[in-house]
Every structure is written in structure tokens, then in C-alpha cells.
């Protein structure tokens, strides 16, 4: 998949921007806080309707504005448009409004985002890993996102009811339990399927990028035991005490082991970065294999953090045919990687302006 003819309106630091993207590697250089990350972020927001940096659309509008717009052409034929104004999102495909975000996402492109904050996948709390699974699963399984959204909504209502009354109204709470279980089971099934499909790719990427004999093993850790229905019923005394739903996919996790030891606890920073990269590379490979199309790869500022060995290994492992948007602050590493990036379209980003330099 390819995006071209990117247009931004009042998005982050860009008042108005028009950028012709190259088909292969696109390199964006420039100092910090000039807009490189925002530019790449806009592609993610356009294609997947979410940002890896914020969950609030109002953060995406230029300072002082209450609206933003993003447009681009996908695969040279389909125009995607995502705009937002005063709390309302508007989507369009080829100029016709698209009311259902599911239809829009189905017609949109696949994305892998790789950023510096990915290390939180290894070090951080479970929610970073769940977000990773959600982002990948939404692109693989059409039933995933609707189930996840419904699950989250039911969970909010159920938790609200658990807290609201001095003595919880179980008949009302149970009206939500069934809804929670029905949607939660789809989320659980898909996440577990996803992790077992990611596992071989993650292990392979880890060997390639890490360049050592250590083995990465990833596994799905259910937050609801072997039966959600049963766990939920059994958790009632604890729910009564803590006034919150204590079992369910919102407590899921992804276990990351290097040679059988927890990567979050025992690995060095370098090893943790390799694990995080491996998860993202596995996502790229799985999307490519399962959807029979190449995802667009967005790489935000991670090359500066990697030693030359890992950098080269990563560059050579990224799917060669995929369109890539890569941001970087330092150029010193670039020229030693002339081979992989010699044909890249280079852009300089400065104060919200983007200029093609080669």
C-alpha cells in the first residue's frame, strides 16, 4: 500500500501543508519539535483513526484551532479524508461521506508504527501491551474493533453501577455482565489467536535484529482465567469489596520472555529495545501475510537510539517493498547506511514547513 499527495490543514504545527510522498522510503530530517513526528502521526491518524501519541482528537488540532483536516491518496486511486471540527469527526472516501468508521477502516490502509516509546511495550504497564494488541488485531479481524468498543462501553457502565450505590444493584449490573461477556469473548479469542500468530515472527525478528542466540517467546496471558463467565461470577465478592470489574480482557497481558526470563525485569535497555522492535516487525510480517498486502511503515526517530549493528539489521529486515516514512534528527548515521537508503526521498522539516531536498 502507498499513500501519496498528503494534505494537512491545521494539524499540530502545520497550518497548511501539501507533501508529495515517494513510493519507497521517505526520510524526514530536522531538529526536534519542528513537526517531523506530527507529519508521520498524521498518516497514522488518517489511515487508522488513532494516534500513537494521544487519544484526544482536540490535541491534534493546531494550537488555537478547533478543527483539523487530513487527506491523502491511497494506492493512487482512493482518496481518504479525515477531518474533525468542534468534537465531530467527518470521514470521506473519494469525496463521499462515510458514516461508519468500520467501513472507512476496511477501505483504508494497514499501518505499523515504530517509535521511541515502544520500549514501554517491554517496561511499561499492561495497557501499553494491550494497545499494541488492539492496534494489530483491529487491522486483522473485522469483528475486533466493534467488539472492543462495545466491551469498553459495557465495562464503563458496569463499573459505574458497581460504584454508584451503597449496596450494588446486582440486577442492573448483571444486565451488563451478559453484554460484557458476549463482546469480551470475541476480544479474548482474537487476542489469543493474534499472539499465537505473532509468536514465530517475533522470535525470528528477534534473532535477526538482536543478532544473538537468545530466544524471544511471547504468550497471551488471559485476564479472565479459562472461562470469562465463570471468572466473572466468582469475582463477585471481590467486586463488592473493590467496586470495580476485576476480571476480563481489560486485565489481559502479553508475556515477553527472553530465554525464559521476563524481558521487562531482567533484560538490558538494548535487549528491551530489540524486543520492542521485534514485536513491531512481527506485526508488519503478520499483516503482510494475512492481508496479502504490504503495510505502510511509520518509523519515528528510533534510529538514533540504536547501535549500528541493530540499525542495519532493522533496515534489512523491514519489508523491502513497503512504503516507509522515517524521521530522524541526526544525519550522521545516515551516510554509513547508504545502501538501504540511497534511493530515499529526503525531506527537511523546519517550523511546520516541509521541503524536499533530494
Amino acid at each position: 500500500m502507498r499513500v501519496s499527495a498528503l494534505r494537512l490543514h491545521q494539524f499540530r504545527c502545520f497550518g497548511s501543508l501539501s507533501c508529495e510522498l515517494g513510493e519507497g522510503v521517505n526520510l524526514f530530517t530536522g531538529d526536534n519539535a519542528q513537526g517531523k513526528t506530527s507529519l508521520v502521526e498524521s498518516i497514522c491518524v488518517l489511515l487508522r483513526l488513532q494516534s500513537p501519541r494521544t487519544s484526544s482528537s482536540s490535541d491534534l488540532a493546531q494550537f488555537g484551532a478547533d478543527a483539523f483536516g487530513i487527506r491523502a491518496i491511497l494506492d493512487g486511486e482512493r482518496e481518504l479524508s479525515h477531518s474533525w471540527q468542534a468534537g465531530k469527526r467527518r470521514l470521506a472516501l473519494d469525496g463521499s461521506p462515510c458514516r461508519k468508521s468500520g467501513d472507512y477502516l476496511e477501505a483504508s490502509g494497514l499501518v505499523v508504527w515504530m517509535g521511541n516509546e515502544d520500549i514501554q511495550l517491554v517496561r511499561g504497564a499492561g495497557d501499553s501491551r494491550r494497545r499494541y494488541l488492539d492496534f494489530a488485531a483491529s487491522q486483522l479481524y473485522p469483528d475486533y474493533r466493534p467488539a472492543l468498543l462495545a466491551y469498553e462501553k459495557a465495562l464503563r457502565s458496569r463499573n459505574f453501577l458497581l460504584k454508584r450505590d451503597a449496596s450494588p444493584n446486582w440486577r442492573q449490573i448483571d444486565a451488563y455482565s451478559g453484554v460484557l461477556i458476549r463482546h469480551g469473548e470475541i476480544v479474548i479469542r482474537r487476542r489469543s489467536e493474534l499472539v499465537s500468530q505473532l509468536q514465530p515472527w517475533a522470535a525470528e525478528a528477534h534473532t535477526h535484529v538482536g543478532g544473538s542466540r537468545e530466544t524471544l517467546a511471547i504468550s497471551y496471558v488471559s485476564g479472565s482465567g479459562s472461562s470469562f463467565t465463570q471468572s466473572l461470577a466468582e469475582s463477585q465478592p471481590e467486586e463488592l469489596r473493590r467496586r470495580v470489574t476485576v476480571v476480563g480482557p481489560h486485565r489481559d497481558d502479553l508475556q515477553l520472555l527472553i530465554d525464559g526470563r521476563s524481558a521487562g525485569q531482567y533484560a538490558s535497555e538494548g535487549q528491551q529495545r530489540t524486543v520492542a522492535l521485534s514485536l513491531k516487525l512481527a506485526q508488519a510480517r503478520l499483516l503482510q501475510e494475512r492481508r496479502q498486502t504490504m503495510p505502510i511503515i511509520l518509523v519515528d526517530d528510533i534510529f538514533g537510539e540504536l547501535d549500528p549493528g541493530r540499525r542495519n539489521a532493522l533496515l534489512s529486515y523491514l519489508p523491502a517493498a513497503a512504503q516507509k516514512m522515517i524521521t530522524t534528527t541526526h544525519l550522521n548515521w545516515l551516510d554509513s547506511n547508504g545502501g538501504a537508503l540511497s534511493s530515499a526521498a529526503r525531506f527537511h522539516v523546519h517550523a511546520g514547513e516541509v521541503v524536499r531536498i533530494s
Binding site: 459495557a154 464503563r156 457502565s157 440486577r171 442492573q172 448483571d174 444486565a175
Partner: protein, 206 residues
């Protein structure tokens, strides 16, 4: 120099029109001017129609549909309808789409909303007691829950099914839910006739 605008009466009319659903400031202005220039008695007839609809029409005290006067609505007063079956919907506007499918000839009951704790709408805010009364007083033996398939609709159906099963009737009461396939997250209003027809046909027991 002072900026000149419309006279106060027109400004007032525009500000009312702006509050209508789907009417922005430009449309409101256009409609206001159009009304003033409309030929004959149109503007007076129009305001009279609004007044009499507002004064005469109320919700039917039995089923919650729109009715003029106190004696129930056209559904409740239709002697040819099947009195053994009640189709429960969220809003009175959900009845006509089901009616148009021709697949249902029973009575209706509007809840006036759906359970939504985050919006402070609980079972007590819905017309559940009057539904229970109708079931107890009549010869109802089937309740079809035709609420939406979004999260609140599902929770409402689940709560109602549980609630109605607890009524001590002394006769069997079947509780069914129309089949899934309703627009996700949408109410009945947005469903097309064929989808609704199939949904009614494929209802399942709860």
C-alpha cells in the same frame, strides 16, 4: 457608523429556527426570510399547525405512541390487532418502521428510552411498570424485545427479560429478542424494511 442588522422580530425568528435539528445559521436565516415572503396565509397556517400539534398530541397512556386526545392511539384502538403479543421498542418512532414491514400485527409498547447508567437513565426512568400492568391485565403471551443492538439496547433487553420472567402470571409468557443484524450501535429508525422483516422473523427466545 452603526452596523445595521435585521429587525428584532426577524432576529428572534432566526434564533428559534437555529435550534431545530439539522438547521445551521445560514439555513435559519434563509427559512426565516422565506417564511416572511411566502404567499397567502402560509406563515399563519404553519404556526397554527405547530400550535395545534403541540396542544393536541400527547403520548398514548397505554403504549407510548403519539395520540391526539385521551383515549389512546390508533394502535391501541384497532380491534383487529393481535392482543396476545406486544412488541417492545425504545422510542415511539420505532413502531412505524416495524409496522411497515407488515410482519407484525400485535400491539406495541415504547419504553421511552433505554437503560444508560452513564446518562443517569435507569429502569425507573423507563415505562416498564406500565408494560408489566398491560401484561398482567391482558391476555399477552409473547413479548418481543425490539430494542437496538448497541450496548445499552442489549443491556436493556437483558434487564427486561430478567424482570419479566419474574412476574407471577399463572400462564406462560414467551420472551423473544429480534434477531441480530440490526445496524450496529443504531436504533431501529435507521434499519431498512427488509432487515427489520428478517429480524422479526428470526427472533429467538430469551
Amino acid at each position: 457608523m452603526r452596523r445595521v442588522g435585521y429587525p428584532a422580530e426577524i432576529v428572534d425568528l432566526i434564533s428559534h429556527l437555529k435550534r431545530l435539528p439539522g438547521i445551521g445559521p445560514k439555513s435559519a436565516e434563509r427559512i426565516a426570510i422565506w417564511l416572511l415572503r411566502a404567499k397567502g396565509e402560509f406563515a399563519f397556517e404553519f404556526s397554527g399547525a405547530i400550535r395545534s400539534a403541540k396542544e393536541q398530541v400527547a403520548f398514548c397512556r397505554f403504549c407510548g405512541f403519539f395520540a391526539s386526545g385521551q383515549d389512546g392511539c390508533d394502535f391501541c384502538n384497532d380491534p383487529d390487532r393481535n392482543t396476545e403479543c406486544i412488541c417492545v421498542v425504545e422510542q415511539p418512532t420505532d413502531m412505524l418502521p416495524i409496522e411497515r414491514t407488515g410482519a407484525f400485527r400485535g400491539h406495541y409498547h415504547s419504553l421511552g428510552g433505554k437503560i444508560s447508567p452513564l446518562d443517569n437513565i435507569g429502569p425507573d426512568e423507563l415505562r416498564i411498570d406500565s408494560l408489566v400492568q398491560r401484561i398482567k391485565n391482558g391476555e399477552v403471551n409473547e413479548i418481543i424485545l425490539a430494542v437496538g443492538s448497541d450496548v445499552e439496547g442489549e443491556a436493556t433487553a437483558s434487564f427486561l427479560a430478567d424482570h419479566l420472567k419474574r412476574i407471577d402470571l399463572g400462564r406462560p409468557l414467551a420472551i423473544t429478542r429480534i434477531a441480530q443484524g440490526m445496524p450496529a450501535g443504531g436504533g431501529l429508525e435507521s434499519a431498512d424494511e427488509l432487515t427489520l422483516f428478517r429480524a422479526l422473523d428470526g427472533r429467538r427466545s430469551l
